[in-house]
């Protein structure tokens, strides 16, 4: 950390030429990762990150810089080189810094620093053993890995506030490659948490996760190519939420909305989705992968209803983009680390439970696709055009799940797809992912119950759906 006295000095240097807001983001983090490949510990690495990011705002202008020179001289030099962007008189002077109390919903009970490498390897071995016990010659390669991050952050700003925050998060990944004469296929599972190691011991079944990755890789080998064209698609729960994340989450971030650059700009209060759709971004869920107690500019994490019964009611807003919108930040300001200027981002974003059951949705579908596993996607917030890839999918015929298919990609325009959701089940689940955007790669949860889109374009190599 840096002393309050130095922080005040640096903030005042930053404010010297007329900035109306200045903020120091200090970070001291470390991470460790271990991977086991085909049963043998293959890599083990450690990293430590220490640096300072300095942000200056003046009306709608943002200036950001970072340095790894944490001496007084280094920090003051950064402040004075950044303040050269403005040419006015000082409007603010910082005289004190009061500590903001942070509600800690994600306390570190047992730090990952106190978990030995041997203990981690022991847990990973459960997954390795499960895969090896299959004795399936088609599995040619498997990598089971574990990584954790410990992040210590302190923020000091010209509102004369400061706070510190410590978080830890960890993730396991099971990656399986299977091969036969037709080629290679892969399967992946990646459970993650902000809880301590007990999550991996008690909350999830490591063997099951590893076996799931193996099952998908093997099953996909024998799968036929997915048909293409427009068709009804049932999107499975959990990771299926990547659909909402891409198609609507990103366009509802203030970074897109504020400048009128989102396909949802100017639609406040409009019916933008089917009336059965209610969608939220909630960073207050204890222990969840995307939760934050306080955001990177000092606003507490909140539960925001984005779409209520189809109507657009809120956005992910940070203070800076909020200026153009005439709105205050609502706890959405995030960044990967001190190297990134923060902006509005998602946390745990999901579509709320509906009234159907997954079984009812499948039974009500005469001919279509059921997608259950997903590999991520992307979106252009301005046009709403998005894509996402499916790693596990099945044909549905006469209300029954039939043969598995591979190579399905769903594409469309978010604002059209939202209106096409015609059934939502009651089995909400989350999936853990990393989301990449302007302020870097951050952890986010996607989530949804099983739902049906009555028509969406599917890309695949299998010709017409029959």
């Amino acid at each position: 950390m840096i002393s309050k006295k130095l922080a005040i000095e640096v903030l005042n240097e930053a404010l010297a030429t007329g900035a109306d807001y200045a903020e120091i983001f200090y970070e001291d983090s470390d991470a460790r990762g271990i991977s086991i490949e085909n049963g043998k510990v293959d890599t083990s690495s450690s990293s430590a990150a220490t640096g300072v990011g300095l942000r200056l705002l003046k009306e709608n202008q943002c200036v950001y810089g970072y340095t790894t020179d944490l001496t007084k001289k280094g920090l003051l030099a950064l402040a004075s080189s950044l303040n050269k962007s403005f040419h006015g008189e000082r409007v603010l002077t910082v005289t004190k810094l009061d500590m903001v109390k942070v509600k800690n919903r994600n306390p570190i009970k047992r730090s990952y620093h106190d978990v030995s490498r041997e203990e981690i390897i022991g847990l990973l071995r459960q997954g390795v053993d499960a895969i090896n016990e299959l004795k399936d010659p088609r599995i040619v390669r498997h990598i089971c890995s574990f990584g954790y991050n410990h992040r210590g952050v302190a923020v000091y700003n010209s509102k004369e506030k400061w706070f510190k925050r410590e978080t830890e998060f960890a993730r396991m990944n099971f990656f399986v490659i299977a091969a036969d004469q037709t080629g290679f296929e892969t399967g992946h599972e990646g459970p993650g948490t902000q809880s301590d190691i007990s999550f991996f011991k008690e909350k999830i079944n490591i063997r099951e996760k590893a076996l799931k990755a193996a099952k998908v890789a093997i099953q996909t080998l024998g799968a036929v190519e997915c048909p293409s064209g427009k068709m009804p698609v049932i999107v499975g729960n959990g990771w299926g939420g990547v659909l909402f994340h891409e198609s609507c989450g990103h366009p509802l971030e203030a970074s897109a909305i504020a400048k009128g650059l989102s396909c949802f700009s100017g639609k406040d209060g409009d019916l933008i989705a089917s009336p059965i759709v209610t969608a939220l971004d909630d960073s207050t869920i204890p222990g969840e992968w995307g939760s934050i107690d306080i955001d990177d500019e000092g606003n507490p994490g909140t539960k925001r209803v984005l779409i209520k019964n189809g109507k657009l009611v809120n956005y992910m807003i940070d203070d800076f983009n909020g200026r153009r919108m005439g709105r205050e930040g609502n706890g959405s300001c995030r960044r990967q680390n001190y190297k990134y200027c923060p902006t509005s981002r998602m946390s745990n974003t999901y579509i709320a439970n509906g009234k159907s059951t997954p079984e009812e949705i499948i039974a009500a579908t005469k001919l279509g696709l059921y997608t259950k596993g997903f590999s991520g996607g992307s979106v252009d917030p301005a046009t709403g055009e998005f894509n996402f890839g499916c790693s596990e999918a099945y044909i549905v015929r006469d209300g029954k799940i039939c043969e598995p298919v591979k190579g399905a990609t769903l594409i469309g325009k978010g604002f059209e797809i939202l209106k096409n959701i015609d059934m939502i089940a009651n089995d909400l689940e989350f999936g853990q992912g990393m989301c990449g955007a302007a302020s870097g790669s951050i952890r986010t949860n996607v989530g949804q119950p099983t739902l049906r889109i009555k028509e969406i374009t599917v890309g695949g190599r299998g010709g017409e759906l029959k």
Binding site: G33, N38, K40, D42, T43, S44, S45, S46, S47, A48, A49, T50, G51, N60, Q61, C62, V63, Y64, G65, Y66, T67, T68, L78, S81, L82, S85, R117, V140, A179, G183, F184, E185, T186, C226, G229, K259, L261, C263, K339, C341, F374, S375, G376, S378, D380, A382, T383, E385, F386, N387, F388, G407, A408, T409, G412, K413, T457, V458, G459, R461
Partner: protein, 440 residues
């Protein structure tokens, strides 16, 4: 020397051989929105990656501030990490190649161009994008960015190598609207010689890329003869060549297993790695300190070599090909400047040869829609219909799908429209026999 401390501590801790990789970077960027600077950023970064061998096994650690405390951290973590490694891969810290070719990727003139001049060009870019076509409804952003990087590799054998590079880019974005349809487009100029940058040329490309997509509709799903634009070829070629990574071959997960000296692509395809050519991406040595050299990976469709780092080469008793580059804390394998050898035909001649088909100009979501292991892809795409040998109307909301091996086998012609892309690749448009299109 300030790094002596690390090597002294390493030796004292029983690390038999040690290596330190130091990267320092400086970057400046600014962007405009409605004629005003909305973002300005300045970066001064450093990054240290240390590796060491204990009992024949590697341990690694990294940090981004170096001082006595961190030197100790690096050593302690190397020791703890190396102790638990179980794989039998040979761990090698390199003594050095006989000779290194000098490459120049640093243009000291770039720093002497004033920020005002760089800013002036950015204002001009935004203005011209707005002026060039009335259908442009917004310029979401224009950005200037410059970066300079210095990397030094040193090890306990006394090897010390340094590489310096700098570059800048201008990027412009635009939104165009016709009726209810909104399309976005962008283009980018990358170089390190400021005098070569032409505002008007970039503005025209941004506008063309954006308004060109208006008025599109999806085509019927089916198989089409296709021209894949060079940007698409660049993206697919990088994943294709990834299968030449010797580690993937040794670990039984490459599509090129057993294909050395055999045909893996159309005879029109020659792909080379050209680290010593004059380019922004030139490198005289890789991240293990091995001297690089130009080489063909695929020649007239035949696989010439796998790509090796020191570890994978040692396992097969061959020499490293100078392709050992960092992938996180580990040394992986990658190319330096990947080049597809151009053919003779222009883009228009490729359209004529297609007759009726599709011209695919961009693909999105490669991380989700392309499985690098199987080579299967199904990707959101943009492009145009080709009708009677000419570019026709744009295509809206389509996917293309296929398999990488099949696509590179199906190449009938390579164009002559050379483009150097930001992903360290030179590519041209290609004509392929057949590609799956998902549309209506």
């Amino acid at each position: 020397m300030k790094y002596d401390k690390f090597f002294e501590l390493a030796k004292a801790a029983g690390i038999e051989e040690a290596e330190l990789y130091v990267e320092t970077s400086y970057a400046l960027s600014f962007s405009l929105f409605h004629g005003e600077v909305d973002n300005y950023s300045l970066e001064n970064g450093s990054y240290y990656v240390a590796r060491g061998i204990i009992n024949g096994r590697f341990g690694a650690a990294s940090c981004d501030v170096y001082n006595a405390q961190r030197a100790k951290y690096l050593v302690d973590e190397i020791v703890a990490n190396a102790k638990i490694i179980e794989n039998d891969d040979p761990a090698i810290i390199f003594k050095g190649s006989e000779k290194y070719k000098k490459v120049s990727t640093f243009n000291k003139e770039l720093a002497s161009v004033s920020i005002d001049e760089k800013m002036k060009a950015l204002h001009a870019l935004e203005k011209r994008i707005r002026e060039l076509d009335p259908r442009i409804i917004e310029v979401p952003g224009v950005e200037y960015s410059e970066s300079s990087n210095s990397t030094t590799l040193m090890n306990s054998h006394g090897l010390k190598l340094t590489h310096k590079t700098n570059y800048f880019y201008y990027v412009g974005q635009a939104l165009a609207k016709k009726d209810e349809q909104v399309k976005s487009g962008y283009d980018l100029y990358l170089g390190n010689d400021f005098s070569k940058f032409d505002v008007e040329d970039l503005a025209k490309k941004v506008v063309e890329n954006t308004v060109g997509q208006l008025g599109g509709e999806a085509c019927e799903s089916g198989k089409y003869k296709a021209v894949l634009d060079r940007d698409v070829v660049s993206a697919l070629m990088r994943v294709f060549v990834g299968h030449a990574d010797a580690e993937e071959v040794q670990k039984h997960s490459s599509l090129f297993i057993g294909k050395l000296g055999q045909k893996i692509a159309s005879k029109k395809i020659t792909i080379e790695d050209r680290p010593l050519d004059k380019s922004l991406f030139a490198r005289g040595f890789d991240d293990e300190g091995v001297a690089t050299y130009n080489k063909a990976i695929v020649k007239n469709g035949v696989l010439q070599t796998y790509l090796y780092n020191l570890t994978t080469a040692s396992k097969e008793g061959v020499q490293s090909t100078g392709n050992g580059f960092k992938a996180g804390s580990k040394i992986g394998t990658s190319t330096t400047y990947l080049c597809l050898k151009p053919g003779k035909k222009s883009l228009e001649e490729l359209f004529q040869e297609v007759g009726n088909g599709v011209y695919i100009t961009s693909v999105s979501g490669l991380h989700a829609g392309l499985n690098p292991q199987s080579g299967n892809f199904s990707l959101q795409a943009e492009g145009f219909l080709i009708k009677d040998g000419k570019k026709d109307h744009p295509l809206d909301i389509i996917t293309i799908s296929g398999n990488l091996m099949q696509v590179f086998n199906d190449v009938l012609e390579v164009g002559n429209d050379i483009k150097v892309t930001t992903s360290a690749t030179q590519a041209e448009s290609v004509l392929v026999k057949s590609i799956g299109v998902g549309g209506k």
